[in-house]
Amino acid sequence: MHNVRRVKHTEEQKAQRRKREQHDIQKFQKLNAEVIKRDFSDLGRVLLLTTQMLKMCPEHYTAWNVRREAILKLEEQDQKVYIDQLKHELEFTASLLPQNPKIHWIWNHRRWTAIRLGGGMEHELKLVNLLLAKDPRNFHGWTYRRWVLRLQFNNNIPASEVEKELKFTTEKINQNFSNYSAWHHRVQQLKQLPLELRPQLSAELEYVSQAVFMDPNDQSAWLYYTWLLEGDLYTVSTEVLKEQLDMIEELYSEDRTAYAARALLQLKSLLNMERDQKLVDDLIEMDPMHKNRYRV
């Protein structure tokens, strides 16, 4: 259970709730018994029963399995009915996801459907956009987004699409720069872009600096900043490192935060400068929870 406040119920309230729930418990047991029978003599009935079960309990993974088996039997009988059913599956999962955006089984069923339907993936991206508007950190949504793009382009995503994705991350980050999921997606896109289309390092540094200056206590932007400096993707010259050192020193003189101090230590290390013990001491004072790590 996540995010459910503890409430004390009286015995009377508990008894009332149990009375209320009796009907649903019976309904669940009846549906469960029917679903696990796997009686495929009437496929329409199997689809109906699994619909009822999954609306009541979208985590009933066996109901999803039985449903898929029924749909595959439809395929043997009538290709058109089968395709229509797959289209219906998109609607069905789209109706369940807004209330249950973290249930793996629903996303899995949608993947299964999307693979079989093939074709354009605009409707898939549309759904993901909707869900990410509701919860911009939903990692299921981000994972599905990357999966859809790989599926659509058979693992060979054209640069123009990657550029679109890069723009999408800019949009999301501009809405809330604390959205680390969007920064992560940005890294994945940059890694896929050919060198000539990749934004300049200076532009990226300037972009992330805005976030860092706006809230020097936010971990998300600092993680991206650190990644840029490490030169995993970009070649970072001594000149750039020195510029960054000046900039972060200025930030640190105005607003002393642990993240800024960590960035300074990183920059000094990348510049082969001596370990700044005063800075380490300050860092330990600001962030004593991690003192043993800083002492190493």
């Binding site: 995010n3 004390k8 990692f139 995993d232 004593p288 929870m289």
Partner: protein
């Protein structure tokens, strides 16, 4: 707040007496996992006989799927790796692995889920992620059959789950998530390939999960949650870096999430408790060296006395 051991045992005892609650039925997909969590709770609280041994083994065996060799979440449901590992853990905890109907069949169930890219899917319907890779590896460990699967590409797959930030995603290229520290680091440790990852970078990301409240979160800028006192802390423990966080503050956070009336532990203080957060809260406290608890093994989430036997069976030296 003190550790309310007796209350937690009471909480475990009443768990299967809630069949009048709709919630009990709506969570049937978690029944087998829930039983492992409950049994492990009693072991950590050093009352391993609290749950009736024959009753629990009967339930586990009622979930065995004869055609595949796997186990389901509840009687009549379909087999899946998530439940097969819990079933094997329960049998091993109860020293009853000999009750397994057909060891080779269960080994085959796991083997057949091995994917060409090195990952494992959870069942024949597809979904692949690091949870199932871990499920497969610990299952094979309990079955003493690790050498029956070539794990070369699995090691590479797991290695690729580590991100530039040091954390681990559900799959290669996916955002780092605290829960995947246990699965990826634990799996590589069992396979003897921990050197494939950048340990210092991992421990930095993992220790950065500690928030001002003392609790650990699962991703940057998210709320802390007691369950990461297991998923994240076990990773740090395997990497020998538990002291990279403030242990006292984390202990306090977990203890404050206890329900002083009915027992059990919640995701955060003042929230509703459940057995998932109860076992992982206690396991976290055990890793922190809290008195009154059996020592837990960070690699397999079983009491260290039990895992020592497991490693001996497999002729492994993991410590």
């Amino acid at each position: 707040m003190e550790l309310l051991a007796d209350k937690h045992l009471q909480y475990v005892e009443q768990l299967d007496k809630s069949k009048d609650d709709l919630q009990y039925w709506l969570t049937s997909h978690l029944r087998m996992n829930g039983l492992y969590w409950a049994l492990n709770t009693t072991f950590l609280l050093q009352k391993p006989d609290l749950i009736d041994k024959e009753k629990i083994i009967d339930f586990v065996l009622s979930c065995y799927d004869e055609s595949s060799g796997g186990f389901s979440a509840d009687t009549g449901l379909d087999p899946h790796l998530l439940y097969t590992l819990s079933a094997l853990q329960i049998l091993y905890l109860e020293d009853s692995l000999d009750r397994l109907p057909d060891r080779n069949k269960t080994i085959n169930f796991v083997k057949e889920l091995h994917q060409p890219d090195g990952g494992f899917s959870g069942d024949k319907y597809g979904e692949t992620d690091a949870r199932f890779v871990y499920n497969a590896i610990q299952s094979l460990l309990i079955l003493n059959a690790l050498d029956e699967v070539d794990m070369t590409n699995t090691c590479t797959w797991l290695q690729q789950c580590q991100n530039y930030d040091g954390g681990f995603g559900f799959m290669p290229g996916e955002e780092s998530h605290g829960a995947m520290a246990f699965t990826v680091v634990g799996a590589l440790k069992i396979l003897g390939k921990l050197d494939l990852i950048d340990s210092d970078r991992a421990a930095t990301w993992l220790s950065d999960r500690q928030t001002d409240s003392g609790g650990l979160n699962g991703r940057p800028e998210k709320l802390p949650d007691v369950c990461y006192s297991w998923w994240v802390l076990s990773g740090l423990a395997i990497l020998n870096k538990v002291d990279w966080i403030d242990k006292q503050k984390l202990s306090n956070f977990i203890l404050q999430a206890q329900d002083p009336d009915k027992g059990g532990i919640a995701d955060r203080p003042d929230n509703e408790v459940d057995i998932f957060h109860t076992v992982f809260g206690l396991a976290g406290l055990s890793l922190l060296g809290h008195p009154g608890l059996a020592q837990v093994d960070p690699i397999v989430c079983l009491p260290s006395s039990i895992s020592a036997k497991l490693y001996k069976d497999n002729k492994l030296t993991l410590k």
